[in-house]
Amino acid sequence: MLRITNLTKHYKGSNKGVTDISLTIEPGDIYAFIGHNGAGKTTTLKCVAGIHGFDKGEILINGTSIKENPLLCKQQFAYIPDNPDLYEYLTGIQYLNFIADIFEVPEKEREMRIEKYADAFEITASLGDLISSYSHGMKQKLAIISALVHAPKLLILDEPFVGLDPKAAVVLKEMMHEICESGGAIFFSTHVLDVAEKLCNKVAIIKDGVLIASGNMDEIVKQGESLESIFMEVACDDKTN
């Protein structure tokens, strides 16, 4: 589904970025991406989403290079950033319809999906209001619905649980499972290690732009340990040494 090979991206005039990141996401995977603030999670996700270019390496989505054929790749995934800055001058339904138009979703399907997800996140009644009147959590819910409206095979999410109320967080987790059961995959960053441990079958830990651990959750988190303890051990070794 997603293959990242030796991804290297550095910002001009700065040491920040990511170096030589490689990982593979298979259909059915829920892949957690964890690391400190500024470790390179968002940079990696933005490179995958085609928002940032990169210096070296390759990103393939279902075998298609994001560099060579970004349009075909973008038709297959949806991306939600950590801070959902949406078009505040549109109403919620106008925004969803706009996204559906871009992905050329047939009318019946878009109506059905929007109704289903908006009801699940309990924001149907607010869809006629301007996005500028939405709270952070409502914007996050709308961004999630917009990501699901074209039924993507791959979901790339940056901190998707931030701002969601407990019920919405449960709904999102259910949806993530639903997507994976139908052959899709999810790659998401999070700081909530408990959620990552319970929800994901794979995990990658990034530190200072370098991947320091990745693989199946049960291989990385051995019995009697927790993702938190592993993370503290491998990602914070500078402080403990």
Binding site: Y11, K12, G13, S14, K46, A49, G50, I51, H52, G53, P70, L71, L72, K74, Q75, Y79, P81, D85, L86, Y87, E88, Y89, L90, G92, I93, Q94, N97, F98, I99, A100, D101, I102, F103, E104, V105, P106, E107, R110, E111, I114, E115, A118, T124, A125, S126, L127, G128, D129, L130, S132, S133
Partner: protein, 529 residues
Amino acid sequence: MIRQIKYLTELQLKNLYGLNVFKYTKDKKVKQKTIGLGVAMLFVVLMMAAYIGMAAYGYIMIGMAEVLPAYLIMLSSLVILFFTVFKAGSVIFQQNAYDILCSLPVSQTAIVVSRFIRMYVENLFLTVIVMLPGIMVYGVMVKPGISFYLIGCVVTIFIPLIPITIATFLGALVTAIASRMKHKSLVSATLMILLVVGIMLGTSSLSTMEDQFSIDMLQNLSKVVLAVIEKIYPPAIWFGTAMVSGDFLMCFASIAGGLVAFMVTIALVSAKFHEICRSLYSTTAKHNYRMEHLKKTSVLGALYKRELKRYFSSSIYVTNTIVGPVLAVVYSGAVFGIGLDKVQKALGLPIDVKGVVPFLLAVIFSVMTTTCTSVSMEGKEWWIVKSLPVRTKELLDSKLLWGLSLAAPFYIISEILLIWALKPDFMELLWLVFVPLICILFSNVFGLTINLKMPVFNWESEVNVVKQSASSMIGGLGGCAIVLVCMLLVLFVPASYTNVFKFIISLILAGVTFYLYRKNNTVNLQELG
């Protein structure tokens, strides 16, 4: 209070022209861009200073030395008024950090004063550019006493105060009225346009009163010009007279008058500050939507509709970009109503524009197209387009289409009025229809090209993009300047070659437009922002 004003003003000034970002950024590209913009601005400043210096020299040479200070003061004040009235409301009531400021122990007067000072600093710079060369030329040629320089310096510092106060009062009034309406941006933009057109028509009608003094003009030109300046902007006469005659009392009386007007405006705006901000930024949510049928649109159609909604959501974007088309209709209407000769006289044009009306119309249409800032207006939401399967061509076409759609009704009305009024022959009709059309296409594509070269996405306020960005200056005025140069070239060509020359210029502009359009569509959106 003074400390609060000091801290808030520092904050405002740090944000001005991206100086703080320039100081601390590690991105060499950002630094290079800022330096490039600084060099370009310095070039413009030097050109302006040279022009003012030469104009001052000309005034003195024809025996109008005593008029010069008043003329320069009026000129700088009108420029300040014209440019500030558009943005005063947006700057004073800017939404950025409003919530944070409200939670801090700072008075609303301090907030208003700090934002006023920010506008003052920007305009003081402009005043110095206008006044300094004039004072220097006057000093060298007339050799006045020391009081001229002393009063000149003091006056220069206080010149921006009155026009900014007037602009702030008008801007705040428009914002206050709009804040009570449902479609705030649209109402604000409409009122602002009416205001600006009113100011322009008012000043041009006052300046045409010189006809009444045609006999006097031959005898005493200075008195006539002073009389016109007094009608347009009386404080210019007070300050100017104080400078020429060394009248300190008149100087301080004028300054005191300006300060009182300023303080009264600050008091009025401060009293209503929170009320206006709350009305502006509070959004009503009906919370009563029920799922209904959703209509499918093409990708280009969806992007176009989004452009339309983006446009009308921002009053400063509307006012800044619709001025050209509105003035084109006003100009055509005036030609239709009172005739080309009278309009030419009212505008004070030193040339016979009969042969270049199509170009003159094109110049007016080419000022500040929507496209010169439409990419930057994506702002923090730029990630959406970048992550969607949208071709560069589709996105840019939607922006171009909106720019052209906006100009279209104004173009059609202007054409009907001008054709009716001028009754052109076949060739004239051809130029009247096609020259503005090609120039509108050119200026929109040119604006988009410049914005793609100099996009700004990380802005705090729309004012930063629409009024202060390099793209709005170069893209918004550059296209207009190129069309103006074409018009001047046509003017200097012998009459027998005019048609051929117009054809060649139209062909070149059309060719450049097509080339830029093709080139723009190859831009990699990923590399922007």
